[in-house]
Amino acid sequence: MKRPDQRECHREPELVEAIIDGRWPEGCDETLRQHVGDCAVCAEVAEIAPLLNGEHTAACHEAGPPPVGAVWWRLEARARREAMLRATRPILWTQGLAAACVVGLALGVLPLTLEVLGDWDAWLYQSAVLPEVSGVVTSWFAHLDHENIQLALIGCVSVALLIPLALYLALSEE
């Protein structure tokens, strides 16, 4: 007798297997066919499973997976690329840190360079933040003599040349 609230049936796996194997209904024994007629769960399964199994067959037929050789090659290449990125990441970090130091140093000595180069930069010093920063930095270097200032200038030029190089090294691998 059919019970609509029944949730499972011990013969459901047997029925599903018969449907998947293509034995349902003609290739099954009479007792299973009779049972499906009497059981709410199996009747529903017998309605749904052939449809979904048919759809599965159609979908598998429709699927056009790429050749396994090409897939393996692509997956392997991707894994190696990612492993290389992981391996070189610490070096990239070091390079990035170096670039940041260079930029910081360059910004630190910039006001001094501007001071040495003359008064044309007065307008810059009158802006809001720079005068305070440069005031501190220039006071540090106030005691420097002419030779030391020349040395500082050479340093600034070197730094200016190194910044693009360091940034290139740090960012090119990314």
Binding site: L52, C60, W72, A79, A87, I91
Partner: protein, 194 residues
Amino acid sequence: MRDLTLSEIERLQVDAVAAEQPFVMDEESFRAFYEETARPLWAYLSRVLGDNAMADDLVQEAYYRFLRAAPDCETEAHRRHYLFRVASNLARDHWRRPRPLQIALDEAGEGAVVDGSQDLAADTARRKDLGRAWAHLSRRDRELLWLAYAHGSAHREIAAALGLRTASIKLMLFRARKRLARLLRQAEAEVGQT
């Protein structure tokens, strides 16, 4: 002995990475596994998501994640369940909204009534009903129903593929089956009215 420069160290590291095997599974085993699973995996993703193009993209991603994770599987069945679990996670991440089945009805199916092949025509009509009903099902319902009745997986296998408790599957599958049966009857009734 001279010191190594930074770029030389980098090159040595890169060479070492290039020389090592990226996956635990070797190519031969992968070939056999892929040949067996690629089509069912595509079918699963395509029908759960209702999007063939998305399934094309996700199949390769599923294999990549599977190989990277290097699961310690004792049997082929475990391996297959793990792959479908990866695919289910991908389906969850890429699920946008319920979409109908993209059913490719072949010319024979469409022309069946003209040819007098009533069985084929009825089959085509049933597939169209399924397509309409499927559009109203949630992703979880689709996964459960597909694994249970398209693959014929046992509750324990469904639980492994979906990352759920085996005990929960019984009730969830019962509800999903009820919903699909009701939706199929509705779809049939709608066709009958038109």
